[in-house]
Subunit: 881 residues, 2 copies
């Protein structure tokens, strides 16, 4: 029951309600009421409230008090229209339509032309002077009532009608005589009686009660239940029922019906947009048998109607202060409005409308910022395909990174790199990706994997790079060694062309033209307004100079996470990195590190140049070392092959040594193993090299007059002493000139213990950055790599959890720890800088949380920076309320 | 500086101090003072305080005010002894000894016979009427002073002495003439001058100052620093220096020196225990050149001395209310006491002494309970070997589970089971163990692994079973397929006999007789006293009826954790379990579960019978399913072999199917994967079978008149809805009669999120049991399996962490969450039952924490139940203070 308060009144005339009474009257009823109140031409009618629906659900019947109110409502409509329900002279016909508080389009039932029977059909013929029309209305009503109230299949009625048409030799309905029509009606009534086990109710009142009950009941039909589950709509709300006197758009030339948007829903342009059919009813538009005309044609056909419609459209838009989607009918030259509601629009249109309405003074800038879903913005930043132009997809996976990509299939990262170098576009297809594949992801147009969830390695990296990516495509079977795959029975070989739609998860064979994203001026202005409003900073996670440049273009105010391990992954460097890891002693490890130093320095220098004037947070090496080493199983295979082929004993020994080292570094739970600052404590020389590279890079750009504020970040700290060890190491590094300028040293907060002892850590740290990916893993005890494929999908479908906590920050658990850490951290060090660099930093609801708990900034992948800018503005505005 | 307060006085005469002034006077000084105050015969002397030592460390010199106090102290001693420092007639000699507040035996320096020079040596000769004795004292002093103050090696002095002996043709010192002695002294003085670059200080005052400085400085010698690091002693404390007039036990028949325990330190028996040497100095006892006599012999040799000594020993024991370890010297028939301190004793003796002293009325029962280290009790519960009887160990690993075991080496769990069935005792030797090996561990006498840390699988299981276990033995190289190993160069083959000492981690070749543990009556009584005192319950982690019975014997008041997975591991069941896991559909899974049902029911029935009258907490299946499956690498090998040998295609396909399933269940981080209640949600039929088995077992024992309160425990809950799903499942199971009596349903709290939302979980749960192993893993982000081998040892040796958090509960982090969970849980449900079932439940400091935060019980492995009983009593007593 709406608001839990049961009203004493269950039926509202349209003039009695208003747009604010949506919970009680449903969306459609509230808007019909609002239009009536505005004096617009709405056919008279009334709304039976959601409270009545709830009572009906409880008792299984419509209480007599409500029946009485309905009867009174009907009498009032009769009076207004000067018609009489069931009359053989001037019969009143009504429509009975559902209207829930939250729109559930097409989910529930509608009955039109109610009130017809053997007598009133004659009255209708008389009144309209159209025998055929009246009979057509009656047969439509019998069919609709039979279907909706008694569940008789529509096909059964259609077969009866076809038979009459055949025997009459008529192709369309025009060829049917009055007798034919009467025969159809008798056939329909007979069919009804046979199927329903009762004669067709002649009494219009019985018809009405049955129709209202049917609409109430349709709230619980399976497709409505599924829809509410999908959209998180309460099952207890119930639906209102609108009973409205019929008007007819199908009574000749000066009649018609149509839909209208006050602005173009596809582009957002300010111009009436819509279509209509003359001499037709709403159903005919939906059925698509006739091609509708453009709304502008109405100007010529019925100029006074068009003028009135334009005026009303403008009035409604100004009244509702939003684009309206209006249904109308013209009966004998007179305009009637049947519905108005907020118009659905594309993201691009949403941005343009919000922007324009603010420019036009309809909305304030602040209001306009609330009108666009930040999540949708990401769609604007990726190439897209028109799925309507496509065949059925070959298969579907999880839509891990939006946008579309077309290219030739390759099965290895190396092949991706080579073919791209040769000027070809490629799609990297892998069972799953590891950091070893990063150069292949970088080279590819898009990535497709058969395993993994929305936050698996491929998904994260691809999102970070703004590349389309589909993961966890179960049907895809890949044989990497044979370089072939099978998807839905189709064999895919290296070089075949695939197209991925990362927005939907659909996979297509062959090439499709893609639409490149355009950052419109309106969007730029709109995001600038967001920047004016928001107090939360927005940075980007960027690992390369290219990423850094792209981030700035999208409005990032710095880098919040530069992952140094990605720099280790380029193929020419990987060999040196492996040498370093496999080193037998510290001396040879240091020799390898010396080779890496100039490379890392180059990276940092270039990133600093790109971020002139802005802060750059650099995370010291984080992942377990074995991620940089070859796979043990592959090595075993190589050794077996070498032995079988009689390879040199030296080669075999070398491989075996590598295998030993790989095995020694293998971990049961690498996520919880030797990584993060633990590496820096076990192998300080690695961190020393990285810090030296940062400081030397800083020295270089400083001499060029570039100002950057590096923030050196220690990962995976669980105790203040870990942090202090590494901070000491960092502060102990000196460059040649010693003139590096300022830099900060801080830490990632990504295990629960760091939150619990945040005061101790903050005492020595300049900043905190919440690594909510790992924090979510450890707070729940969920491995991101395993959870999504193994059990999280069950949790979500069974609603053990409402959200995937890796996608939307878990405020109750993870958030509780974050708040605790911020509180403790700031109490120990009030000037502590606090941000977030987990994937949640680009997710609107999570951003709202970050704003609320007082973080200084969020950091997200470059392509989500605009999303974050808007979400941050909205968070600020919502909080002010 | 002691207590941070600098006293105005830096020198205390023995009569001025007391036993309470240990921080200021050091342990030795405080006890010398106490004995002096009691009027016992202590040679006069004084103590220079630890404050002086701190001042000396700060300034590098002894301030003149302190020098003045020392001089005054010395004058006082001269007066008391009627001797004069440096006198050629009646010279006063003193000893200069260190004495820190916390005993650091042998870590710092001592100088005897100080005060001798070319003149006073004549005075000593005159006074003692012994020319040789005086000269021997002098040369000893030169040597000691040269060594301690100037760092001249002792060997250099000994070579000089040997040369004189040779030229004199003397074998021992008796053959040396006075001239020879004089030559030795001159040689020593010359050596000193040459090595030290200064003439030997003739002025006794200079000698004294130099000696005091040397003792102060010895606080910072490397071995003392290492010792303090090892024993967690503050480096800022400093040491006191005791200056005491010399008495001589080496001046004839009526002289001697010895040590004495007031009770037998090995057995705890009440009788003087000790040894002495007549005509000797303390050094001679230590040097071991002469065999000392038993203290009882003194009764015959010097009856009045023996009588006085007995009386004093008794007095001191009563005074200190503890066993005393006393040093004494007899000079010319007169007894002098040089030291008394609390006597070190074996665990057995500690228990007996504590028990007896309470019975004798010396201590209250409560005091006696504080006198035994609970940790030590575990030693009493395992067979032990006398390491003195052994050769050097072949190797050493981590002492993971105490006790000694001897048996024949086997390399597989199956071999362990087979050989044991054939009546042989075996030692299971593995690179590491997995749950697959559990039947082998159960069969073996002890376990040895080359990998893993103190809390690896082998360690935990072995401790749980009370079996000796050594893990992480780096030097051990095992070739499981070839059934051989290498340890310290020695080849070990299957069938060879090894002996493990799980208390020390030592590994020996061959067999040794083992001492079986005896639970003495004193221990039983003592633990009953603990039970009277403690308020914290003690339960056991027990998975089998045998474990359950053993737990009761050791005093467990219930089972706090029965791990049902261990029941799945018996070899005849494993096949069915695998069938269940590999099942293609739910129907075949249920068929396999039906086979398991009667087996699990049997287990529970037997455990319930063993625990009549007590609660039994049963945890539903927890580990990832792939733990029950064969190893992928081994399967691949089998498939390769089958193919190479031309095996049947059916067999190969079968193996390949299994491999597929194994691969599909493989997880990147199994610790955080599909396990615990996630299994119960993904495969409810498994939990249904287990609950049915529990309830049917309950039904059976109830009909036998047995009363048990089962507590069904849901593992790894992170959200209240997970718990509620499983709780609903449990409550939905009905047995035939429905007459199972009461049972509780509750949950393990083992991931941080469960603590953070404990109120929501508690709303529906009857009990919480903290799984602190997993909680520690997730709070730190440390994988127990990886951390110890990969980085935790570095953390501990570098003191990044003070303790291994898997051994001692981390109160700051993990404990903070536990307190939060208890608070939230009890607020939501005041009657919530709360316990702990992680390994920490058997560790005394962690038990004290559990008591303090208000848990109802701890649960630990059966063999640690007595430890926990005592620790719980101590926690209560400490808290009362």
């Amino acid at each position: 029951m709406a608001d839990g308060v049961r009203s004493e009144k269950f039926v509202y005339h349209f003039e009695e309600g208003s747009a604010q009474m949506r919970d009680l009257l449903g969306g459609k009823g509230a808007n019909l009421a609002e239009m009536s109140r505005l004096g617009l031409p709405v056919p008279p009618g009334f709304t039976i409230t959601t409270d009545a629906s709830v009572l009906y659900r409880e008792s299984g019947r419509i209480p007599s008090a409500i029946q009485k109110e309905i009867k009174e409502g009907l009498e009032c409509v009769e009076a207004k229209r000067d018609l009489c329900f069931g009359s053989a002279k001037r019969p009143l016909l009504v429509s009975v339509r559902s209207g829930a508080p939250i729109s559930m389009p097409g989910m529930m039932d509608t009955i039109l032309n109610l009130g017809l029977n053997r007598e009133s059909v004659l009255g209708l013929a008389r009144m309209t002077d159209d025998e055929r029309f009246a009979r057509d209305c009656f047969r439509r009503f019998i069919q609709m009532f039979g279907n909706v109230v008694r569940g008789i299949p529509v096909g059964a009625f259609e077969r009866k009608m076809d038979r009459v048409r055949q025997s009459a030799g008529a192709l369309g309905d025009d060829g049917l005589s009055i007798d034919d029509w009467d025969r159809i009606i008798e056939d329909f009534l007979a069919l009804y009686e046979e199927e329903a086990g009762e004669t067709f109710p002649e009494d219009p009142w019985d018809q009405l009660l049955a129709a209202v009950e049917a609409v109430f009941s349709s709230w619980d039909n399976p497709r409505a239940v599924v829809y509410r589950n999908m959209h998180d709509i309460s099952h207890d709300m119930g639906t209102a029922v609108n009973v409205q006197s019929m008007v007819f758009g199908n009574r000749g030339d000066q009649c018609g019906t149509g839909v209208l948007f006050t602005r173009n829903p596809s582009t957002g342009e300010r111009a009436l947009y819509g279509e209509y059919l003359s001499n037709a009813q709403g159903e005919d538009v939906v059925a698509g048998l006739r091609t509708p005309k453009l709304i502008s044609d109405l100007r010529d056909e019925m100029p006074h109607v068009y003028e009135e419609l334009s005026r009303i459209a403008n009035q409604l838009e100004l009244h509702y202060r939003d684009v309206q989607d209006i249904e109308f009918t013209v009966e004998a030259g007179k305009l009637f409005l049947l519905q108005t509601r907020s118009g659905k629009r594309t993201v691009g249109a949403a941005v343009k409308v919000a922007h324009d309405m603010a420019e036009e003074g309809i909305l304030t800038k602040e209001e306009s910022l609330m009108r666009v879903d930040p999540e949708d913005l990401s769609i604007l930043l990726h190439p897209s395909i028109d799925e309507n132009l496509m065949d059925d997809p070959l298969g579907t996976g999880l839509p891990a990174s939006p946008g579309a990509a077309t290219g030739r299939v390759v099965f290895t990262a190396d092949a991706a790199e080579q073919m791209t170098a040769a000027g070809r576009k490629v799609i990297l297809v892998r069972p799953e990706t590891t950091p070893d594949d990063i150069h292949g992801i970088a080279a590819a147009q898009g990535v497709l994997t058969s395993r993994g969830g929305m936050t698996c390695h491929a998904a994260i990296v691809a999102r970070g790079m703004g590349k389309p990516c589909i993961v966890g495509c179960d049907q895809l079977r890949i044989d990497v060694t044979a370089k072939k795959a099978d998807l839905g029975g189709q064999r895919i070989e290296e070089g075949d062309v695939l197209t991925l739609d990362g927005t939907t998860g659909h996979i297509y064979v062959g090439e499709v033209g893609l639409v490149e994203p355009i950052l419109t001026e309106e969007l730029e202005t709109f995001l600038e307004w967001a920047d004016e409003v928001r107090t939360l900073g927005v940075r980007a996670n960027a690992d390369t100079p290219d990423d850094a440049t792209k981030s700035r273009e999208f409005g990032a105010e710095g880098i919040g996470l530069c992952r140094t391990e990605h720099m280790f992954m380029q193929s020419e460097r990987l060999a040196i990195v492996q040498e370093m890891i496999l080193a037998a002693d510290q001396a040879s490890r240091e020799r390898a590190l010396e080779q890496l130093l100039p490379m890392q320095r180059e990276d940092f220098t270039a990133i600093f140049r790109a971020m002139d004037g802005l802060p750059v947070t650099i995370r010291l090496l984080d992942p377990p070392l074995h991620e940089f080493l070859p796979d043990a199983e592959a090595l075993r295979e190589e050794i077996r092959n070498l032995k079988a082929e009689g390879g040199s004993r030296y080669d075999i020994a070398l491989k075996e040594e590598t295998l030993d080292k790989v095995m020694a570094l293998e971990e049961v739970n690498p996520m919880l193993g030797l990584r993060g600052c633990r590496l820096g404590i076990a192998y300080p020389e690695i961190y020393e090299m990285q810090v030296r590279a940062i400081l030397e890079g800083l020295e270089t750009v400083k001499s060029e007059g570039i100002q950057v504020l590096p923030e050196i970040m220690v990962p995976l700290v669980s105790d203040h002493r870990e942090y202090e060890r590494i901070a000491e190491l960092i502060n102990g590094i000196n460059t040649k000139s010693g003139d590096t300028g300022d830099y900060l040293v801080g830490t990632m907060i990504e295990v629960p213990r760091a939150c619990l002892v945040a005061d101790q850590i903050a005492a020595r740290a300049d900043f905190f950055s919440f690594g909510t990916n790992d924090l979510t893993q450890t707070v729940y005890g969920f491995s991101r790599d395993d959870a999504e494929a193994k059990f999280l999908h069950i949790y979500l479908s069974d609603r053990v959890l409402d959200e995937n906590p890796f996608a939307v920050l878990d405020e109750e658990g993870v958030g509780q720890l974050i708040e605790m850490a911020i509180d403790k951290g700031r109490r120990a060090r009030p000037e502590l800088k606090i941000g977030i660099c987990g994937e949640h930093g680009g997710e609107p609801r999570s951003i709202a949380f970050c704003h609320r708990v007082g973080m200084d900034y969020v950091s997200c992948s470059p392509y989500r920076v605009p999303v974050a800018r808007l979400a941050a503005a909205q968070a600020h505005l919502s909080n002010q309320k």
